[in-house]
Symmetry: C2
Subunit: 320 residues, 2 copies
């Protein structure tokens, strides 16, 4: 119970970050490495253990390790079952880390640990909170009654794959019309390319030609310059974000929905249409307030900080 | 702790039913009264107290009262905040019942208590279960980790109002494209009327003319007689049901989804297309089994039995 500092690791498709984190969320040392090209369990393990070793040299007092990773993680065993962008499958991360380091470890989905950071260390503590991360895809994490909801074995809380229109565009997961297919950076890229095709002289097409291709960033740049077409695309993206949030808020009784991920840096461009749609699709507003939508407090560090917090709360010395 | 039998009351838009229920779900006496035309708190209270009085005359040993009611109920206070089809608003049901009867009482949403009955007394005990009731509307109840999920104050679990298409048909709640707008008896009526308009010589139109109007029952009758158009409408209704179920199953990690309500009596006509769609829209099936969809064990008695079970589990003698 005297655990005060833990290592937090964030494993993504392009980079692996690690840091030492206090119970109040202070991040004292950070190491970032690229995710190995051959992102199998062995290669990623080697990077994780290297980062842990270097962090422990500087901070020998760390008492636990937390890992947040994109994908589906079996809980509490800490087996990485499947990840959308990495090659590993059914990888016993927790067992390996504990055996190699002698420290207790926890492994969870990256959005699950990020929502924990927001719930514990946001502007006030939240007991009922949804985090929606809008990046390449949509990630989702859920805190109910003060605890991460992940289902009994960690296969729950796949919030990016609620269906917003079964006849909608194909999602990265293979289904149609998922939240992620409508309200992610990938969706913004798709809409931006359609807009550039429709109007080859428009700002989106011209910026895209300069950049080599149209991506979500192109649309963001055009919207920031006041381009009406790009702003309209953000209006549509934000509306879908708000529809998905309203759908989740009709299921849960939430204190807030926090929006994180790369695209939240566009601020009200994204969040204002989301707030409008979330109010429009809120159920029974006579007796249920539409849920407030707020930008996340933690940016790219949410995974590390949340993973370390989870380790401080839940990691127990392993037996044997 | 020696509570063994409770009164279960089910308050709906058209009838109020009460019975005495054992811990194993056995319903020993049942009284049904019509919901008063003027369905305000006073009139409905009088009916509830009359039923309770008559049941206690026969079963003086009952130790608690449970009420399941359509609408949003504040928990644990037991205030009926709002109901779609009744006139009462902000009605302190629990307080009134306890004062008038001297028995501890619990009040909850009707689908919440029905899912408890299915979770406790279904083919096996379930710890993670969704109940979807397909009747005039869509009701939903949720058991997580063995307990009813209703949010901290009872305003959660409005599963009928997740959004399946924001540009879809108007729902009874005023929003567009809710689960309820697509997969309820009301949706079947709407589709049946469209089909009758499209083909005035078709079976749906002819049966509707005999019955005075086309309703969901007309479509059911036509489908039962093998009418291809009516069967196709059931295919569409069931598909929407499966899409909504898949969406919920991507959020939770469920052992099963149980379908109840009047329309489940149509069996595989409704459930087979639902199962197909739920498999089609299931996320990450490499590591997550598509959720099994089963008909509810309890029919019209689910509300009474579940309300009584909740009373046996949760009702505590009130203080003062």
């Amino acid at each position: 119970m005297s655990t005060k500092r833990a290592i937090g690791l964030d494993v993504g498709g392009t980079k692996i970050a690690g840091g030492v984190v206090d119970a109040d969320g202070t991040l004292s040392t950070e190491i970032v490495e690229p995710t190995p090209e051959d992102s199998d369990a062995e290669a990623v393990s080697a990077v994780l253990l290297d980062i842990v070793g270097r962090l422990r040299e500087k901070h020998p007092d760390v008492s636990a390790i937390g890992v947040g990773a994109a994908g589906i993680v079996q809980w509490p065993e800490g087996r990485m079952l499947w990840a959308p962008n990495n090659a590993y499958r059914d990888w016993p991360v927790r067992e390996q880390l504990e055996a190699a380091t002698g420290l207790p470890a926890v492994i969870d989905n990256d959005a699950n640990v990020a929502v924990l950071a927001e719930a514990r260390l946001g502007p006030r503590p939240y007991r009922e909170l949804v985090l929606v991360t809008v990046g390449t895809g949509i990630g989702g994490g859920l805190v109910l009654d003060g605890r991460i909801y992940r289902g009994p074995t960690g296969r729950g809380a796949e919030l990016g794959h609620i269906v917003l229109n079964p006849d909608g565009p194909v999602c990265g997961c293979g289904n149609h019309g998922c939240f992620e297919a409508y309200a992610s950076g990938t969706a913004l890229t798709r809409m931006g390319r359609e807009a550039a095709d429709d109007d080859p002289r428009g700002l989106i097409a011209r910026l895209g030609a300069e950049q080599g291709e149209v991506t979500g960033r192109t649309v963001t740049a055009a919207a920031t310059q006041g381009d009406a077409v790009a702003r309209d695309l953000f209006g549509r993206l934000g509306r879908w974000l708000g529809v998905g949030i309203a759908s989740l808020a009709n299921i849960f009784e939430l204190e807030a929905v926090v929006v994180g991920g790369g695209l939240v840096s566009t601020g009200d461009l994204l969040l204002e249409p989301a707030r409008r749609a979330a109010r429009e699709f809120a159920y029974a507003t006579q007796v249920r307030e539409p849920v407030p939508i707020r930008p996340a407090v933690f940016g790219g560090d949410a995974g590390m900080i949340g993973a370390a917090l989870l380790a401080l709360e839940d990691a127990r010395p392993s037996v044997g």
